[in-house]
Symmetry: C2
Subunit: 336 residues, 2 copies
Amino acid sequence: MTDAPARRQATIEDVAQAAGVSRAAVSKVLRNAYGVSDGMRERVTAAMTQLNYRPRIAARAMRGRTYTLGIELPDLSNHFFARIARGATAALDGTSYQLIIAPAEAGSREGMRALDALVDRQVDGVIAVSPRVDEARLERISASVPVVMFGRHDTSDRYDVVAGDDAAGGRAVMTHLLGLGHRRIAHLTLHESGAHEPFPHGVRLREYEAAMAAAGEDTVVWRTDEGETASYEVVRRMLADGSPMTAVFAAHDELAFGAMRAAAEARVPLAVIGYDDVPMASHPALGLTTVHQPGEAMGARAVEMLLERIAGRTEAAREIFDVELKVRTSAGAPAA
Amino acid sequence: MTDAPARRQATIEDVAQAAGVSRAAVSKVLRNAYGVSDGMRERVTAAMTQLNYRPRIAARAMRGRTYTLGIELPDLSNHFFARIARGATAALDGTSYQLIIAPAEAGSREGMRALDALVDRQVDGVIAVSPRVDEARLERISASVPVVMFGRHDTSDRYDVVAGDDAAGGRAVMTHLLGLGHRRIAHLTLHESGAHEPFPHGVRLREYEAAMAAAGEDTVVWRTDEGETASYEVVRRMLADGSPMTAVFAAHDELAFGAMRAAAEARVPLAVIGYDDVPMASHPALGLTTVHQPGEAMGARAVEMLLERIAGRTEAAREIFDVELKVRTSAGAPAA
DNA sequence: GTGAAAGCGCTAACAA
DNA sequence: TTGTTAGCGCTTTCAC
């Protein structure tokens, strides 16, 4: 009861007193600003470690930087997003910046709440991964903080863009399937995706439609909610209803896994192709043919762009990453 | 060039002026504190929406709460952790709190840096998932902010604990394998796990050893780095070296998938059991027998504990979740 | 029911 | 080279 005085976190003032210098001096050492003698730096550093001092980010925020970058992620269950985050985290290694992830909860208006939360916390830069965040709000946000949009195929002079080459990826899938002789090919995508939209799934859908039109075939678009389970249900129902499709181009790997499961269960030969190349896709038991996107590199590049902006760049940047079709085979499934 | 005046974010002062009231009044409306007339509330609210006002969290942090809970996650590639985060996010839905995730980068001292980053940002509560964070530091941190440790099986009166029943899970796995007639069973775990440690992998290892001893068999522990790929490499090498094992108990599903891949490639009949029950485990092409942990519920409970602490609870809490062995079969693999 | 004012921990301009 | 000081935006007594 007598020991352990309710211990307050040490402040810059405490450090200053312990070292016998002014707050400004400590602050300078902290930011290693110009004009500090070696002796002083030493005493201050000693006091800091002794007091276990850690600068409060909130106090810094009130004067400028927070040394924090934020990334908004729509779906932690999708391994591709984890790769982006991993690349972003790694790119910050060794810098004084920290990455924080704001998960967009399922129901919310597509990540707007998570994005706002990041901005409210005054991050020094934001990466937005949910495609359909409100355009106007995004423009406004990017007036006050650097923004990188992931996967958008339109352009803005306000924010930067990192995306995969979805058009090339979509074409590669369709060329491959048509080359294999498939004609009755369905596209499996989320309910909300529209072919006119400049988002990854929109572009993939557009390429599907274009390729089918060029081949003189009718398009068949299957719609599903997010996730392997929902995808499975949709495809199961389609197959049970006697769908004559021989192949499915799924908008991403999770959906593809669901489709594979439904086909395997129904013992229907259905060639399934995915998108993203999540780790499980290359497992021999699955052997999912898919389009590889360099998620880590893309995440790292997004962080670089933010750091460039913070360092002063003002023109908008934009980088489209090459993708690559990975052709794989699995035990029971038909050629895809 | 003439329009768009460098727009500053609206502050509480701006709102006060627009509404013709004092800053204090606005603050009260914001926190809906006692003593505000309806008329005033209305004018203030109007001014807020009109100016698009959003309170700065950093400024709030200097006086108290940040309305932010932080969770430190060791490995975004592991789907089980994504489930925890999902449960935690969902539990915060509808509250004024926001969850932020700090990813622990691979090399760092097991999440300490990420934890510190969270504390530096003055989150109102922390969930730590990396098992081997520095004990002393943890105690110190929990003096200033509520902490929930995930998966620890020792006790502390400083922080709360949420864990799965790893002892029961480990026993279930071993009982199952031994019941199937397996005798040469290896345990596949990470390099750093020790049987004496009160962490999930330590407990699982201990149960493995105990069961083998009880069965009068020698223990064989295979060590690997984190991840499916590393696990695959290790098991591939073991099989190539002519290991006589007929079954493997993997410390978690990712490692199990790697083992399955190695066995499939080597065409060696190897029964593999995992832990966690990530979504892919139930895919029929994989059919991984594994121990199910209710990740979402565990994440949600951790958040609840934090909110209880914030609301004033002072005694330490501790909850161990039941787990369940899921027996599955896949096409090519031997009974597991 | 409403407002004045102090102060949280830090940075940076300026003075010494 | 070092120290003084004015805020940053908010919450919270405490008067009125």
